[in-house]
Amino acid sequence: MASKRSVAVIGAGMHPWGKWGRNFVEYGVVAARAALADAGVAWTDIDFVAGADTIRNGYPGFIAGATFAQALGWSGARVSSSYAACASGVQAIASARAQILAGLSEVALVVGADTTPKGFFKPVGGDRPDDPDWLRFHVLGATNPTYFGLYAQRRVAIHGATEEDFAQVKVKNAAHGLNNPYARYRKEVTIEEVLASPMVADPLRLLEICATSDGAAAVVLCSLDYAKRHGIANPVTIDGISTVTPTFPNAVIEMPNFATDSSVAVAPGERTFRSSIAHAAYEEAGIDPKDVSLAEVYDLSSALELDWYEDIGLCEVGEAEHLLRSGATALGGRVPVNPSGGLSSFGEAIPAQAIAQVAECTWQLRGEATGHQVEGAKVAVTANQGLFGHGSSVVLSR
């Protein structure tokens, strides 16, 4: 719930996800202008700009927050840039929040945008045998779906997940995304269609693995005082943000590594890295997972969404299939997961995705998610995890 450590989200905007083939800056500006209009704040009133980056769009000097500031028209605002793989967007949000809570900023704009090439994510070019991301492709042929496949197969063996369960996640998210104007894929699918799609990384099929997309998202954050002066009596607030790193030893194999840490000298902690991410955000927000009305989680694969149910505390470990089969995580259920349609309907636009999760939660908490609204939403949580020990979670409420 909102506290002195909360900031308000007074504007959210997106550029529709797709494969538009244009420059990421253009998408970012569309999303930023939409968020500013939604907030009713003039660009020139923004005193802090936080950009979320991805290296694939250029060298760090170019892909920085300042790129968006220039495109919106130099205004003298202070700036920051964040790179944290899939968590870049929330690191940018965390950067803006810190400025606001420190009293150094009153109203900030956070922007992330991506333009993606076709096909599997691949490492940046050149021979780099000291880069684990390069090595895993060269030595193992291990793509991102390889790791998703390993997690999925593990769920099958340990928790009795079935291929129908995995397909059901896709069916659910496709139905959720159907009416979301920002989603790239707006088409219902059936379990049969999912199971008829080609195998990519056994047991995961083509329709169960998230694509890469172009897209952009932006939010306007401000102090609770500013929101009040701006005439917003009951704003959506961000009450907790987590950008924790793993603790040693990280005993789960993760992209892009060849091996886990060794747990021969130190026993693994009570929580895996993935489950520690949302836990830290809940702690900061003072919220129990059972109070959550909806969640936006990183369904890089259909099976991974089931892992998240447990990792964000919607159910005990081993109970995710049961939760899914009960219908609790579908719209109309007890705690809808990915009401936006998730990555399954969007495809991943890396630096924009974590911001998009927050934008979706903002609209849900305002009751403005037309066509995919979670009735009576009070508390929302986001979660994601990316390469190199990056992950993030945000708790919002209204």
Binding site: L140, A142, M199, D202, P203, A265
Partner: protein
């Protein structure tokens, strides 16, 4: 086996064995090898023993690559899908990845099954064969 390892310092194809290091203070094992500073956050050691990792392990999970991975992977022509295994090495307390041996498919693998390390050719170029470690299921007697 003729040829050279596809990547230096990760394995000895003649044994065959994966090559790691063990911290002389806390005994944490590192693969790939760590030789500068122990990554156990409560250990300040900077000295390591060179070790060969266990050559047998238990399948933690497995999957396959039905589609040809992008470069820098060097695929067979025509492309042949391969399985990938995550293997738990009990003595080292780690899970390590590797491709499954030539001809092994997901149908031959099971979580909890035993596998052993072998050397095979990953690809060949003008300089000769590039060798890699792979995992082969151990047939139950």
């Amino acid at each position: 086996m003729a040829g050279v390892p596809v990547v230096e310092g990760f394995f000895d194809p003649s044994v065959p064995a994966l090559l790691g290091t063990r911290c002389t203070e806390c005994a944490t094992v590192f693969f790939p090898a760590e030789r500068s500073w122990c990554r156990n956050p409560r250990c300040e050691s900077t000295t390591f023993d060179e070790v060969e990792l266990s050559r047998e392990g238990t399948v933690w999970s497995f999957t396959d690559a039905q589609y040809q991975p992008p470069p820098p992977y060097v695929p067979a022509d025509p492309y042949v899908p391969f399985a990938i295994v995550a293997v738990e090495l009990a003595a080292e307390g780690i899970v390590v990845l590797g491709q499954a041996a030539d001809g092994v498919t997901v149908a031959d693998l099971a979580v909890g099954g035993r596998v052993k390390l072998i050397t095979e050719t990953l690809y060949s170029d003008d300089d000769g064969d590039k060798l890699v470690w792979r995992w082969r299921p151990i047939k139950e007697a």
